[in-house]
Symmetry: C2
Subunit: 132 residues, 2 copies
């Protein structure tokens, strides 16, 4: 395993993710990072997001469309608006019993599951009605 270093760039990326509670995409983080330091490159932001999520310091949320990042470290479920793309955390607790059950039945070494609900958020529903 590599010995990770604590660079200024990595600190800024982590700090920026922690400041957001709205599941930013990598590019949104890149722009927020650039406000703090004009010099940091896209490659560095992407590299550090991958490193930080591998280290478990942030969460890499893989949803249909673009991937997001999350400052929460604990596994949880998501709700995605298929109209506006808004992503929300669900309060229902992550249930590891599912993982055990599937592991037993399939022989896989299960690391986790992802549960994503898709639908139209109240705001977009309202907009749809107004258009008609």
């Amino acid at each position: 395993m590599k010995q990770l270093r604590n660079t200024k760039q990595r600190q800024i990326v982590l700090e920026t993710v922690l400041e957001h509670c709205d599941h930013p995409t990598a590019d949104q983080i890149y722009f927020a990072v650039r406000k703090k330091d004009e010099k940091i490159s896209r490659g560095t932001v992407y590299r550090n997001l991958n490193i930080l999520s591998e280290e478990g310091e942030i969460l890499h949320v893989k949803v249909p469309g673009v991937d997001r990042f999350d400052s929460r470290q604990d596994l949880h479920y998501h709700l995605l608006c298929s109209k506006c793309g808004k992503l929300t955390d669900l309060s229902d607790p992550y249930d590891p019993k599912f993982d055990h059950k599937i592991a037993r039945e399939s022989g896989y070494k299960i690391s986790r599951h992802r549960l994503i609900f898709e639908g139209i958020c109240p705001e977009c529903q309202k907009k749809e009605k107004e258009q008609q």
Copy 2:
């Protein structure tokens, strides 16, 4: 709504998806389609995969990494090997009760949920052991 046409190309794409039971990616379908007709273009295959899944004739399976397509029309859950990328159907039935619950709690108009388990398949586990 558009009046869809029944073109030779669309038929070949649908037929090719139905022949596969291993969740092919769009590109795998493109290559299989090309074996039947040298002329069909990538754009046409992608366009038709999107149309067919919007029509509900096939399933667009959105998993981390590359999207896949499935000849099954009914919603179901998946198991993804994070080593080799193999994607398997789970036999557990899709549970619409979850959708109703989340709809009630969130105010979203829920269309579906996606549940994907991630882990290492037995074959890849064996390979990992052999390497050590």
